[in-house]
Assembly symmetry: C2
Homo-oligomer: 343 residues x 2
């Protein structure tokens, strides 16, 4: 089996680091590996599978001879992804740049792997909250078509990268010491106002759009419709940041076309790859972000019917948003290409 020449763009960030961890954990096959980052991080030495690599500054020419380029995210994708494609690489992009481009497949490999084959050089990785929710939706959608979703999220600070993690730690220490909490990052570094997240909740992730929903909320709407190939699915999202380091949780209520029993849904979830059913109220068994962090599978629980609508199903789904919500999902797409020797 032919192995690809791989490049990782953004190798020094939170998602880039997770790419490296997962490449080692999964014995991800590669012929050569190139670690790329901004000029600021160039020169950093990183060890992958026992070998030391020097991070190079990412330039258009960096992608000569690269088969698969894993882009960790950020605005750099917009300029460099087309350059990489021009040089023959397949780009798996974790940024939001190309997700809604009709020429770019948006893929969760357990949900719509068939879309990978339609790529024209770029394959997009969905937003973390979308990926995690999609894993719970698909087994239900297969039992009866989903018509409507109401979702409220409980999102970890690492969605805002390493800075988000440090900020939660620093604020927590300050608060325990009776000192003022300093806020520089959340809800989003680029915004005018920042609020403490330690012992607080911030009902804003990303910027607000004209409809008073946030960009994060509308990503959950548009991306979920695209992944499930159904623009008629109604999705009403509320995305919320909470003081958790890692793993997003989501409270989801789904209305399907026909009634689905809890047992049928639980059985379908059990059989679904990437999903673990942790659902036994009598034994206080349910998913919690402290226990899913660093884990590949998402966990689903609190499965129960709507109290009134026999076509309504509630669930609580939790997943590591840096693993399944970002790096793992992208790597699974790459593994699909390698499996099919299609690179």
């Amino acid at each position: 089996m032919r192995k690809p020449n791989v490049a990782i763009l953004g190798a020094t960030g939170a998602v880039g680091q997770e790419f490296i961890t997962l490449i080692e954990e999964r014995n991800f096959p590669f012929e050569s590996l190139k670690l790329l980052a901004s000029a600021r991080s160039a020169g950093t030495e990183l060890t992958v599978c026992g070998k030391t690599y020097v991070v190079e500054e990412a330039k258009p020419e960096s992608f000569e001879d690269v088969d698969i380029a894993l882009f960790a995210g950020g605005s750099i994708s917009k300029t460099l992804a087309p350059e990489a494609v021009k040089r023959g690489a397949i780009v798996i992009d974790n940024s939001s740049t190309f997700r809604m481009d009709p020429n770019v497949p948006l893929v969760v490999p357990e949900v719509n792997p068939e879309d990978i084959d339609k790529h024209k050089g770029i394959i997009a990785n969905p937003n973390c909250s979308t990926i995690i929710m999609a894993l719970g939706l698909k087994p239900l959608h297969d039992l009866s078509r989903i018509k409507r979703i109401v979702v409220s999220t409980y999102q970890a600070v690492s969605g805002a990268g390493k800075e988000g993690i440090d900020e939660l730690t620093n604020q927590t220490k300050a608060h325990l010491a009776g000192e003022e909490m300093e806020a520089h990052i959340l809800p989003s570094a680029s915004l005018a106002k920042h609020y403490p997240i330690a012992f607080n909740v911030i009902p804003q992730i990303d910027v607000f759009l004209d409809n008073d929903y946030t960009k994060e909320e509308m990503k959950m709407v548009n991306e979920t419709q695209k992944i499930l190939h159904d623009d008629s699915i109604q999705i009403v999202p509320t995305t919320i940041r909470i003081p958790v380091y890692r793993s997003h949780s989501e409270s989801v209520l789904v209305e399907t076309e026909e009634p689905v029993s809890v047992d049928a849904f639980r059985t379908a979830c059990d059989a679904f790859p990437g999903l673990v059913v942790r659902d036994n109220p009598a034994e206080q068994v349910y998913p919690m972000p402290l226990y899913t962090s660093g884990q590949n599978d998402c966990e689903i629980g609190r499965i129960r019917k709507d109290l009134y609508n026999e076509r309504g199903m509630n669930f609580w789904i939790v997943g590591d948003q840096i693993r399944k919500g970002a790096a793992l999902n992208a790597l699974q797409i790459a593994e699909y290409l390698i499996e099919k020797q299609s690179f």
Copy 2:
């Protein structure tokens, strides 16, 4: 104006302490004050309005000559409330014991004050999550009858009393020091299993019932229907504990009989007592629990229509669950009785 002889049962607990703080803040009128608690806390000295009181052990006879008895909560209500009533006191009870009793009014004074007049000795204070949500529901319900509610909560640890607060602090310190977190209280002290809440989310508040909803969730259903006098209102709740010290947040989606505009709802909220509109997405203005704690008013924001249903309205409501969610609400009921000289 005649002033009542007042007793506070559970004076040394979190809600009891808040009763005392609020009595001082509001210049709550009383002729005499008696502080009661369990035998364990009897003998404690507490200062109220500059005068020192010795906490007495609560017994049936403690309520002789008491006009208004404020019960902070707990199972003691079941035995002592009828004894207090027998002795001529009006009991305002913060426990869940009598809330669904058809002979006991369940009251949020801004929402259904008229129910106070129907009491037969006991008036029940609703569950904290219910009170906070009801403040957001009522102005909407007055514009168009509410048909259905989907709510996910983000509840603070002080809902589990002083022990919940201490546990969050101790676990946070342990986690920052790289030590194991010990869990003894949450989700509920009486349960078999306990989980850390620091940097975690626990999707269980109170015990699970046969329908796989928790008791806390079914309180939100049953109590909201009773307060709004409409058993046909559908309520689908998910109640979640998060690592916040104080103030509950709630993500609420409401379907009304007729469409209501965002402007009409915002204006109604503005005019509604006990409710502050904090809602300006362009300026990143929205309610957050860190800023509502210690405050009497609940705050509402993120007001926006359902993306598909013109009869659907989203909002985010945050309130101090020890103040408006417990002690303040009970004290407001007492103030109503004093105002009407009806004790």
